[in-house]
């Protein structure tokens, strides 16, 4: 803590002459301290993930003798292969991609429509509408479980992926509406007026002006919705009864036994479950940072 508070003080150039070229500043001890701290934090954050990676490639006997922290004595792929085959992983992967993808898409579209009405259209009682929307996010999912179960059973959507898609579209778009409504609330009026003067109707204003300008924010929402839906467990567990409908996190829970746990196979399954979101994140990493900075500048 003290190093952290001292660091900015040390970074202020006191008696030294200003360096000639800015981009070739000499590293002072304080910089090294900050770098070391950043590395320590990085390792701390990555630690659980590293544990998963280490244990995924260990045989159960190796785990039993060496414990969770030791490096594997030899690479062991049976855990990964077993899990892959036991749950038919490609099928689960496709289910997850399909549900998360559709949810992300639907939720963003609905959020935009809602937020356009609330943020730019400024309908009456919008604060209360937003509060109402937020309820969907604030209620614990356990409380929603039974009402949703009965509703979906009545309409015959129990044990279909559509149940998951509809539920999460609603939950995610509730959050999206809340966020976008406040973004659109500060949307420059001049732009809207200019568009109206040019003869654009509301529909055209929305799709030709508002959406393109807020694209970075929308991409961030899309990515978050995808990852959040991907990681959902409780509701998919309840609604996806048949194995061929299940998503990756539900498939991982298959390994949870009554009294025993198989640490190495469980790690392997966790690794397989995390990899797709990681890949997704790396692909869209630039969009994410761009979207966040776009929001910050505005």
């Amino acid at each position: 803590m003290s190093a952290l508070t001292n660091a900015p003080a040390g970074a202020v150039p006191t008696g030294e002459p200003a360096p000639k070229r800015r981009n070739r500043r000499r590293r002072r001890p304080a910089d090294w301290v900050i770098l070391a701290l950043a590395i320590v934090f990085g390792v701390l954050i990555a630690f659980p993930f590293l544990l998963i990676v280490i244990n995924s490639f260990k045989s159960p006997a190796d785990y039993a003798t060496g414990g969770p922290l030791a490096l594997p004595t030899e690479l062991y792929f049976d855990g990964l292969v077993n899990f892959w085959e036991r749950v038919n992983f490609p099928e689960k992967l496709w289910n997850s991609i399909y549900t998360s993808g559709l949810v992300a898409l639907f939720a963003v579209v609905i959020s935009v429509l809602n937020a356009f009405a609330i943020g730019i259209g400024r309908v009456r009682g919008r604060t209360w509408i937003i509060v109402l929307f937020l309820l969907a996010n604030m209620l614990p999912q356990e409380a929603l479980l039974y009402p949703l179960y009965y509703m979906f059973k009545e309409v015959g959507l129990y044990n279909t992926t559509w149940a998951i898609i509809i539920i999460f579209t609603v939950i995610q778009s509730a959050f999206g509406t809340y966020l976008l409504a406040s973004v659109y609330g500060t949307f420059p009026k001049e732009v809207l007026e200019a568009a109206a003067l040019d003869g654009a109707n509301r529909w055209q204003i929305l799709w030709r002006v508002v959406v393109p300008i807020s694209r970075p924010t929308l991409s961030v929402l899309l990515i978050f919705f995808f990852i959040w839906t991907w990681n959902e467990f409780l509701i998919p567990l309840t609604f996806l009864v048949s194995n061929d409908n299940q998503t990756v996190p539900v498939a991982i829970s298959v390994l949870q036994g009554d009294r025993l746990m198989d640490v190495t196979t469980t790690s392997a399954s966790a690794l397989l479950g995390v990899i797709p979101t990681l890949i997704f994140f790396f692909i869209f990493q630039r969009t994410l940072t761009r979207g966040i900075t776009a929001g910050a500048v505005k």
């Binding site: 039993a64 279909t160 559509w162 309840t238 048949s242």
Partner: protein, 429 residues
């Protein structure tokens, strides 16, 4: 006009959605010749192997096809009440035994009363009395009496695992009395070894506590405690001795005080890697030890000085009320109880409930099954300490941790346990 057309389009889309959903759900409906079966045992576990064979025999003999889905324990436990209440219910599934699980579902009317099938096939003759306890539930969902709702296939019991090499190194024999057992523990402590693998954060510590209490108990005491047949006094000799003995174990160094922060997995691993020579725990470890504890010789012995041991029937087959083909389900249960399947279960490292010991060819398995049969012959299965109330497991874990951490005295711990127990069990007496 525009608006109206949009609403209409939305309505059409919604109807289409529902329709496709319906046909999706309808497609899963089994016909007369399919048995939908769920269980949560690993593919390579004894049960997994034996039931795979049972499925083959079933398909050969009945001509029906089995639609098997592998599930997780947690998955079935947390979603059963919803699934079984819908059209998606399987014809037969493996479900956890006990008041809070199978008992609850039975009292909610979600499980089929299979008493007739049990009598017709003579399954009750194959199962020892204590094994039947968890298969029968009364209208309140309390086990031990009433109609049959399930059929167990395998059993489990708590025994003492010991490291033969470590015993030989200290020149020790397998103890046959409790005094000898303590003497063995003393010798290890003298040699600088903490003898008992323990885990206070999960079930092992509670099981040792209950085992110590059982030394002073009889069958009626167990029935009072587990089946609410009579008053339970937590300050009686059995419980008091058990609590005081646990504290003594810590003081004498039989178990490490650090164990209060460990999980069952840690305790098991400390036995496998040879750092703890004795582990009082269940038969569910047996298969794993066979595979993984290969760097030394090990064996089991019965906890000395006790007529009663922890143990019970395992999880069991239940037939949902919404099952489409209950008759096929009974056929399947009958096959799983055949000597052939039971022997396969035993030879694969499991603990069959109805096996002939002569059919067991694997020497290691014989040792385990003989131990189980010996307990059943004297009607010695006393179930588990956390069964009486739905929240007793957490209470027991928390209180016993405080006991071995010495933040509470044995007397205080027993009083807390009694309060928790009475608040639930009093309604059933």
């Amino acid at each position: 006009m525009h608006k109206r057309r949009a609403t209409l389009a939305a309505a059409v889309a919604a109807v289409a959605l529902v329709a496709t959903g319906c046909s999706g759900a309808g497609g899963d409906e089994g016909d007369d010749n399919t048995l939908t079966l769920w269980h949560f045992e690993g593919e390579n576990s004894a049960m997994g192997i034996a039931w795979d064979r049972a499925i083959e025999i079933f398909e050969e003999e009945t001509g029906a096809t089995v639609e098997f889905e592998a599930k997780g324990f947690e998955q079935i436990r947390s979603t059963a009440s919803q699934v079984l209440n819908s059209d998606e219910a399987p014809d037969i599934l493996e479900y956890a035994k006990g008041n809070g699980t199978a008992g609850l579902l039975a009292s909610q009317g979600l499980l089929t009363d299979i008493t007739e099938a049990v009598e017709e096939h003579g399954w009750d003759d194959k199962l020892a009395p204590a094994l039947q306890t968890t298969a029968r539930y009364n209208e309140d969902g309390v086990m031990g009496s009433g109609a049959w709702y399930g059929v167990p296939n395998y059993g489990e019991y708590v025994t003492v695992y010991y490291n033969k090499d470590a015993f030989a190194a200290q020149g020790l024999e397998v103890p046959t009395t409790y005094e000898e057992f303590e003497a063995v523990l003393d010798s290890f402590v003298d040699a600088g070894i903490t003898p008992l693998a323990q885990a206070g954060q999960e079930y092992p510590l509670g099981q040792l506590f209950y085992q110590l209490a059982l030394m002073e108990a009889d069958r009626q005491w167990v029935n009072d405690y587990q089946l609410y047949e009579g008053e339970v006094d937590f300050h009686d000799e059995a419980f008091t001795t058990a609590a005081e003995t646990l504290v003594e174990y810590v003081d004498k160094g039989y178990l490490s005080q650090n164990a209060s922060g460990l999980k069952a997995e840690d305790a098991g691993v400390s036995f496998i890697n040879g750092s703890a020579p004795i582990f009082v725990s269940g038969s569910w470890w047996y298969g794993r030890f066979l595979d993984e504890a290969t760097s030394f010789e090990w064996g089991i012995f019965e906890f000395p000085g006790s007529e009663l041991n922890l143990g019970s029937a395992g999880n069991m087959w239940v037939v949902p009320v919404n099952a489409g083909n209950p008759e096929l389900a009974y056929e399947f249960i009958d096959i799983t109880l055949r000597p052939e399947i039971q022997a396969l279960l035993g030879n694969s490292g499991g603990l069959p409930v109805a096996a002939d010991i002569a059919d067991i060819t694997d020497e290691k398995s014989q040792e385990l099954i003989e131990g189980f049969n010996a307990i059943n012959e004297r009607d010695g299965l006393a179930f588990y300490p956390d069964w009486p109330t739905p929240t007793f497991y957490d209470t027991l874990v928390a209180e016993l941790q405080q006991l071995i951490n010495k933040t509470k005295s044995p007397d205080e711990v027993l009083t807390s346990l009694e309060e928790e127990y009475e608040s639930y069990a009093a309604d059933f007496r």
